[in-house]
């Protein structure tokens, strides 16, 4: 388990993060979706929110706080889902017809 607290883990996490961004860009280009800076910014914010939610649940479980994991997960998860849907609709703006 200690590996997940190590520098190496964050190195891998960073690579995965970059891959996500590259993949996202490829996907958007394929659909003709323009990606101005504000879209990147909102996407990053949303990823932060989603990441926080996941890490919150994990941390609470690790701390043996099952109630916090459940309630926090539902609450932050809800916010993440709602924000995600909103973001999704924003992302699609300006798409060319394929």
């Amino acid at each position: 388990m200690q590996i997940f607290n190590s520098g190496f883990f964050w190195f891998v996490e960073g690579i995965l993060f970059c891959l996500v961004l590259v993949g996202f860009r490829a996907w958007a280009q394929g659909r003709g979706i323009p990606l101005p800076a504000w879209k990147w910014a909102t996407l990053l914010l949303w990823m932060l929110l989603a990441g926080f939610t996941i890490a919150f649940v994990g941390t609470s479980l690790g701390e043996n706080e099952a109630t916090a994991a459940m309630r926090g997960g539902l609450l932050f998860g809800l916010i993440t889902v709602i924000a995600g849907v909103g973001l999704w609709r924003l992302l699609l703006t300006g798409a060319r017809e394929a």
């Binding site: 459940m70 539902l74 609450l75 889902v81 709602i82 849907v85 909103g86 609709r89």
Partner: protein, 382 residues
């Protein structure tokens, strides 16, 4: 109407059952206060105590208030001269040590023997302890209500109410303003109505929701119906909300509370805007859901009445959203309802909210009333 009759009768019976079941046996306590007691009779909330020979020795009444661990109940005996003969605690959920720590025994000894006019309702002054606790507050409040009951019933004296003033603050102002704006906008119609509705709902969401966390809930309605009235001095906003709900439902076809005031309705609409779909369920599915909701609401109120625990009725996820407290069920519901709101228009209001069932009952009763009363006809609304 027939179905209403059945429902009302069933609920009334549940409530009556709950009340009898919850009524504690006060006789032993009364006998400790009046050792010469032979028979005890209850009428209108006051117990008349007679000795073996049937001669009256005094009266007793019960007082109840909420303490630290739950309700605290005590019996006060008043003799024929109007002197407090004794105080006995019948039921409390305080831990014994709590109870001793507030020096209740010393207080009761002090109170016993004084004329009922002169009972000192100042716990701290009598006992010489500073820093009132919930337990000592409850003791004083229940003592006062019990004494007042005997005084009123037997001596025809209305004891002065505790010196208190209404707590009228931001919440109360907002509730009144929202109802006023809502009624006006509802009459105006058109785009005014649309914009005012958004403004009202967002205000309600912030103030009644996140700031005060006090929307109307089934638990509060059930507790009203079962005769527990929350303290009006500190709960003005709650009474405004209830009165607004009932009156606007009776006068308009839709109630202003749900459309303009309710913070949870507002939350769903906000999420709906984000989701941007606003689907409506087919009428058939809608009907099925609505009638199952009516059944659930009935069952919830029924259970709350039988057990006399209004909190049992509350299945709404309001507290989970606004105060982050609630059962697992409520948390799950919150997640499901708000996620659904992305796709379906206000699903809670449409298919789950107990207020809708109550609104339908009220509306039908109102329509019936308008039909019966001379001079008022349906459609007079304009």
């Amino acid at each position: 109407m027939a179905i209403y009759l059945v429902v009302f009768v069933a609920l009334a019976m549940a409530l009556a059952y709950g009340k009898t079941r919850a009524a504690p046996d006060l006789d032993p306590a009364i006998e400790r206060i009046f050792p010469t007691a032979g028979s005890i009779e209850l009428s209108r909330g006051v117990y008349s105590v007679l000795d073996e020979g049937g001669e009256p020795v005094g009266w007793a009444a019960m007082g109840k208030a909420n303490g630290y661990g739950g309700p605290l109940m005590l019996v006060v005996g008043v003799d024929l001269e109007g002197e407090v003969a004794g105080v006995e605690v019948v039921e409390h959920r305080e831990t014994p040590i709590f109870f001793r720590m507030v020096r209740s025994a010393a207080y009761f000894e002090e109170v016993a023997g004084s004329d009922f006019h002169e009972v000192e309702y100042d716990y701290e002054a009598v006992v010489g302890v500073t820093g009132a606790t919930r337990t000592s507050d409850a003791i004083v409040a229940s003592l006062r209500s019990a004494v007042a009951e005997v005084a009123d019933d037997q001596f025809d004296v209305r004891l002065p109410a505790p010196p208190r003033s209404f707590e009228f603050g931001l919440l109360e102002i907002v509730v009144l303003a929202l109802f006023a704006a809502g009624i006006a906008a509802h009459r105006a119609g058109g785009s005014v109505r649309r914009w005012v509705r958004w403004a009202c709902q967002l205000t309600g969401l912030m103030i009644i929701g996140f700031w005060a966390a006090s929307p109307i809930s089934l638990a509060k309605i059930t507790s009203l119906l079962s005769g527990y009235f929350p303290d009006i001095y500190s709960n003005l906003a709650f009474y405004f909300l209830i009165i607004g709900l009932v009156i606007t439902t009776l006068l308009h076809r839709r109630n202003i509370y749900c459309l303009y005031v309710c913070p949870f309705g507002a939350a769903q609409r906000c999420v709906g805007v984000i989701g941007g779909m606003n689907l409506k369920l087919s009428a058939r599915v809608g009907r099925v859901l609505e009638s199952s909701r009516n059944v659930v609401v009935f069952a919830a109120i029924f259970a709350a009445f039988i057990t006399l625990q209004p909190a049992l009725a509350s299945y709404e996820p309001f507290a989970a959203l606004f105060a982050l407290t609630g059962s697992t069920l409520q948390w799950g519901l919150l997640f499901i309802v708000l996620t659904l709101s992305l796709v379906v228009r206000t699903p809670w209001c449409g298919f789950l909210c107990p207020l809708r069932s109550i609104e339908i009952v009220l509306r039908n009763v109102g329509a019936w009333g308008r039909g019966v009363l001379p001079g008022r006809k349906e459609g007079a609304r304009g």
